[in-house]
């Protein structure tokens, strides 16, 4: 964070103390993430990181650009499939595999985006949903995905020929790095000149057009980047769990990502990750009990839509701002 002279956007004025507080929080978070695998089960942590990245990717589109995509699982699952296939069948390394997954997801994003971007609001959501369902059936039928069975036993491999990723903790740090890169990318975009224009489009599209911006081009760019990042999350998940399945491309998965982002707080950098942490933890612990997970998630969803549209981070900000 070197832009000391710029005005940090947002309602909160960046007082020095707030800034110190932010840095402190960031440092604490970093430390927590670094020591977490010593305390908690690394695979569980990796799952959180993958979904946090996925939700953040969606948030880049929904929270910062104001576009609700109900088909982001296509990119998440697409990335997972491409990576799994390349790593398992074509025998490429994990890094190359992930890059291919990200590239594939970006191409899918561009293709779907070109059609979907023509509509707005609810029509945009419907279009992405239907197109992702089209993609779902393509994945179901494609010869390389093994339909219902998925691509199983994907080897994690060795990173750069040095790090043995079969070890959970090594893999964890690899995933953490990927996550950090993904989050940095999002942060970079939303606090860039490009991000300013995107924010302007979200706040008042007509006005942005009247300033001479070709808003569709910006929307398509963000859509593609968001798709690529969702692909990054999916690719990484495929390596962590060594599997890529239809679940990853189903529309329910898209819904889950929206829930995470909404629950955590749309349009905030940390919100979606917080939402993902809550949901994944809940799924993890409820799975072992007789409590119906979907009902609980549904209730959380309804409550957050009705009462906490600003999400966890929003509620937190509200309390921290209160005198």
């Amino acid at each position: 964070m070197s832009n000391t002279t710029t005005h940090v956007p947002g309602p909160a004025q960046s007082l020095p103390s707030a800034r110190v507080l932010k840095l402190a929080a960031f440092a604490i978070l970093a430390v927590v993430l670094l020591v977490a695998p010593a305390v908690l089960y690394p695979v569980f942590l990796m799952k959180i990181l993958c979904f946090a990245l996925f939700a953040s990717a969606l948030n880049l589109l929904l929270g910062y650009t104001g576009l609700l995509s109900f088909g982001h699982a296509t990119f998440f699952g697409g990335g997972a499939y491409f990576t799994a296939y390349c790593v398992k069948i074509l025998d490429v390394g994990p890094l190359t595999g992930i890059l291919i997954g990200v590239g594939g997801a970006a191409v899918l994003g561009l293709a779907i985006g070109v059609i979907a971007i023509r509509r707005q609001g609810i029509y945009f959501a419907m279009t992405t949903l239907a197109l992702s369902q089209l993609a779902y059936f393509c994945f179901l039928r494609a010869p390389f995905t093994n339909a219902e069975d998925g691509i199983q036993n994907v080897p994690r491999g060795t990173l750069l020929g040095i790090f043995d990723l079969t070890d959970h903790v090594t893999m964890y740090f690899f995933v953490l790095t990927v996550f950090a890169i993904g989050m940095f990318t999002i942060w970079r975009i939303v606090t860039s000149p490009f991000g300013e224009v995107v924010k302007a489009i979200r706040e008042n599209e007509q006005r942005a057009i009247s300033l001479g911006y070709n808003v569709n081009r910006y929307k398509l760019s963000v859509f593609t980047v968001s798709a690529a990042l969702a692909g990054l999350a999916g690719s990484t998940k495929a390596l962590v769990f060594q599997i890529a399945t239809l679940t990853d491309v189903s529309w329910q998965m898209s819904g889950e990502a929206i829930l995470m982002a909404l629950l955590g707080g749309l349009g905030t950098l940390t919100g979606p990750a917080a939402g993902a942490t809550v949901i994944v933890t809940m799924q993890n612990y409820l799975a072992a009990t007789s409590v119906p997970v979907n009902v609980v998630i549904g209730v959380v969803f309804v409550i957050s839509v009705l009462l906490f549209r600003k999400g966890i981070v929003g509620v937190f900000q509200k309390f921290s701002k209160a005198p």
Partner: protein, 399 residues
């Protein structure tokens, strides 16, 4: 990062080591029942599998083990990613010694792969793909459920012998379904019959009408259903309304399917199974105890296999005086399997459990004496040369 990684690895390892030393004195035998608890296959596995495993533990004399037995359970929701991560978690965090598995074979194979890497015993009680003891076999795995091959041959062979030679298949479009139809087609051809065609459908199809019409148009004698669970039920239900009902052969069918469909709809369907609840005195006594505890749900072959598998596993742990996967597996292979629930059972080198099978027919409502009286047994099939031998299985562990 690598230094840090090592550091935390060490820290993590220390944690584990500490916890192991503390509890080593009374390390219980932990069995994980990993099944589809609420999904489309939960009827033939699910909560009743858990019950069967618990009954097996209760019925077992645990004093011979020198420790307690703990039964854990989890729902994999028929999602391979959920299943494999749950298995991994229970292995890493709980230190489970054995996993009994039921539900979608796709999930099961992922779980067995994961368990094999971590040297944990798997007992497939409700997964029917041949791959469990074939190309993806595990040194610590046993498959108690029959495979698509036996299910298909049991029904197909018999029907062709009765003169129903021309077959049409309605097949679930994934590995299990395709294996089932391929095996059945082989059986039909072996027995002198022929193929009229096949329609593939995705998992969880709610309308089989177009497939049934295609089957009807082909003029086949028999419409073979190479699918499972609710897909099979849908097909049977709809076949009745299109006048194809009398031509059906369900290649994988459970007593719970018959209960769900009602005898009125399901009557006359030929099924191949390893178990029927009142096939002998032992099973009748066990099934009655079982039904007392679950409100009258008839145990399926999945439940029976879970009971038999758990019993055999515990016996082997006691005999081996160890919880080590390799030692227990060796003991499982060498000890005879108790007769009763399974008849003439033994375990092959690739983990395949071999036993006698039954060919049964769903009773007409008029023949049935009550809600649990579902099948009449037509014949018994000697298991000894009915199952694929270890050598033919393609299991890489068998030389």
């Amino acid at each position: 990062m690598s230094t840090l990684s090592k550091l935390t690895s060490v820290a993590f390892a220390t944690c584990l080591a500490t916890s192991q030393t503390v509890f080593a004195a009374e390390d219980p035998v932990k069995i994980l029942v990993l099944d589809d608890m609420r999904g489309i296959f939960s009827g033939n596995g699910g909560p009743n599998t858990l019950l069967a495993v618990q009954m097996a533990v209760e019925d077992f004399d645990t004093s011979s083990l020198g420790t307690t037995v703990e039964v854990l359970s989890a729902d994999h929701q028929n999602k391979a990613d959920v299943g494999s991560s749950l298995a991994q978690r229970f292995i890493d965090e709980q230190g489970v010694d054995a996993i009994t598995f039921g539900g979608s074979s796709a999930v099961g194979l992922a779980v067995q792969g994961r368990a094999a890497e971590s040297k944990v015993i798997t007992m497939t009680t409700g997964g029917y793909a041949p791959n469990f003891v074939g190309d993806q076999c595990s040194p610590y795995g046993t498959q108690w459920a029959p495979t698509t091959r036996e299910l298909a041959r049991g029904v197909a062979g018999t029907l062709v012998d009765q003169g129903l030679k021309d077959w049409y298949f309605i097949t679930a479009d994934y590995v299990f379904g395709r294996a089932l139809s391929t095996d059945a087609a082989d059986a039909v051809v072996d027995a002198g019959g022929g193929m009229k065609g096949e329609t593939l459908h995705p998992l969880n199809t709610n309308d089989m009408a177009s497939a049934l019409l295609a089957a009807q148009a082909s003029g086949a004698d028999v419409v073979g259903l190479a699918n499972a669970g609710s897909d099979t039920e849908t097909a049977i239900k709809q076949a009745r309304s299109f006048g194809v009902g009398d031509k059906l052969a369900a290649l994988l069918f459970f007593s719970n399917n018959a209960q769900a469909l009602t005898l009125d709809v399901a009557q006359g369907i030929r099924v191949s199974t390893s178990f029927y609840w009142n096939m002998n005195d032992t099973t009748t006594a066990w099934a009655e105890r079982f039904m007392e505890r679950n409100g009258g749900q008839v145990p399926t072959m999945g439940h029976a296999n879970a009971y038999a598998a758990t019993t055999h596993y515990l016996k082997s742990v006691a005999a081996a005086k160890s919880q080590d996967a390799a030692e227990v597996t060796a003991m499982m292979h060498s000890l005879p399997v108790d007769a009763g629930i399974l008849e003439n059972a033994s375990i092959q080198e690739n983990g395949r459990v071999v036993y006698d099978m039954l060919l049964a027919e769903v009773k007409a409502p008029s023949e049935s004496t009550g809600p649990t009286d579902l099948y009449k047994i037509l014949s018994r099939i000697d298991g000894s040369d009915f199952f694929l031998s270890a050598a033919e299985s393609g299991c890489p562990l068998v030389n």
